[in-house]
């Protein structure tokens, strides 16, 4: 198998050659690296953190390449603004899936996170991808961006999609690896959806989440874990302000979901090795920058899974502190 037939970190010249050969690609790399690529059927987003075969790596001059497989019927690059979230699903193929990348901390990131679950086509038309970011030490200075290689556009306020149509004998199966589980404390419920909350119900009683966290000294390294019918969906803490009685998250919370504080994880590398074993190599994967940072994963492996390390993961909806996997399954 050649380097461009499976997902891997590649040099800029190799990616340039793959684009020029007509391949459809989903890319992750620094702004400088992606800016050096020719136009073609690709989309990408800015990130400099990767899970590689050798372990977690930070690189400005390599690109993580996920090729659209040869058996795909088509791969169509597109981009969407914050008022066009529903169109992502309208444009998605009836049989296939969509790769999506959105720039962090932008209206299109927020709107996708909050609106996608209510869109016609949600789940029915699988969307998988991630949130573009910058070097952690450059947060607030540099801006994340996404690229539409078809048009040549570099976009800081739109998301980029690669709609992939599959033949009838293939289906997209999105899976997640979550090393966190409920810590068994009180159930936290919210009245409204959003990235920022104050009031909530804690153990059935009205309270304020920031005050609760402050008064109990709860570590915000570990996420809130939402119970989605038995699947744990994380929402990570961005900022807790007990004085202002506000908590900011990296993904929205939703009413109707039972959340609990996560059980602490001591060894992320071991946790990923255990949780990500089996089921073979995915066709695409990404993992969260918070896992990379809190778990000190530079140079460490994540259960043999490779892919970009991102500012949010998309497995139908926006997730945090989660490893997302896409499998393209044979179905007959």
């Amino acid at each position: 198998m050649s380097a461009t037939e499976c997902a891997a970190v590649q040099s800029i010249p190799d990616v340039q050659a793959a684009i020029n050969s007509g391949q459809s690609l989903f890319l992750a790399g620094s702004r400088q690296a992606l800016s050096s690529l020719p136009r073609g059927n690709w989309v990408g987003g800015t990130i400099s953190y990767f899970m590689t075969d050798e372990g977690g790596r930070v690189s400005e001059d390599e690109i993580f390449v996920t090729p659209v497989p040869e058996f795909a019927l088509s791969g169509k690059a597109a981009d969407y603004g914050p008022a066009e979230i529903a169109r992502i699903y309208e444009d998605a193929p009836e049989q296939g899936f969509t790769f999506l990348v959105a720039p962090a901390s932008t209206p299109v990131h927020k709107n996708f996170a909050e609106q996608a679950p209510a869109c016609d086509g949600f789940l029915l038309r699988p969307v998988v991808g991630w949130i573009a970011g910058v070097r952690v030490e450059r947060i607030g200075h540099d801006k994340p961006a996404v690229f539409n290689g078809r048009s040549g556009a570099v976009l800081e306020d739109r998301c980029a999609a690669l709609h992939v149509a599959l033949p009838a004998n293939k289906m997209a199966d999105i899976d997640i690896v979550n090393i966190f589980e409920s810590g068994g404390g009180p159930v936290v419920r919210f009245e409204e959806a959003g990235f920022s909350v104050g009031r909530c119900l804690i153990g059935g009683k009205a309270g304020n989440l920031a005050a609760y966290i402050g008064s109990r000294g709860i570590s915000t390294e570990f996420p809130l874990v939402g119970d989605y019918n038995g699947t744990a969906i994380n929402v990570s803490f961005q900022k807790v302000d007990p004085a202002g009685q506000k908590v900011e998250f990296y993904a929205p919370v939703f009413p109707g979901v039972d959340y609990r504080f996560a059980k602490p994880v001591e060894n992320y590398e071991r946790a990923f090795a255990q949780a990500a074993s089996g089921d073979g190599s995915p066709d695409f994967a990404c993992n969260c920058i918070l896992n990379f940072l809190y778990g000190r994963l530079e140079g460490k492996k994540t259960g043999g899974i490779t892919g970009p390390i991102t500012f949010g993961e998309i497995a139908h909806q926006l997730l945090n502190q989660t490893l997302v996997k896409l499998y393209l399954r044979d179905v007959g």
Partner: protein
Amino acid sequence: MLPDIDHPVWMQIITGKRPFQSTKPTLNLLVQMNKMSYERDPSPANVKALIAKTHNFLGLYQALFADEIAAILK
């Protein structure tokens, strides 16, 4: 084989009377979205819409989720 859309199993799933839990995140998200929608709006019209959506989804993806669907509908 997926039961017909008029089969009572669908109503039981949407109203939570028949547990529907899977190891597949996609299926659990579907059930959770249905649950949240039903809690917000338990009207017959919404239940009908949720049944249609669920039946359509499982019909499309029954090859992928065959084992899960068979277990759920036993």
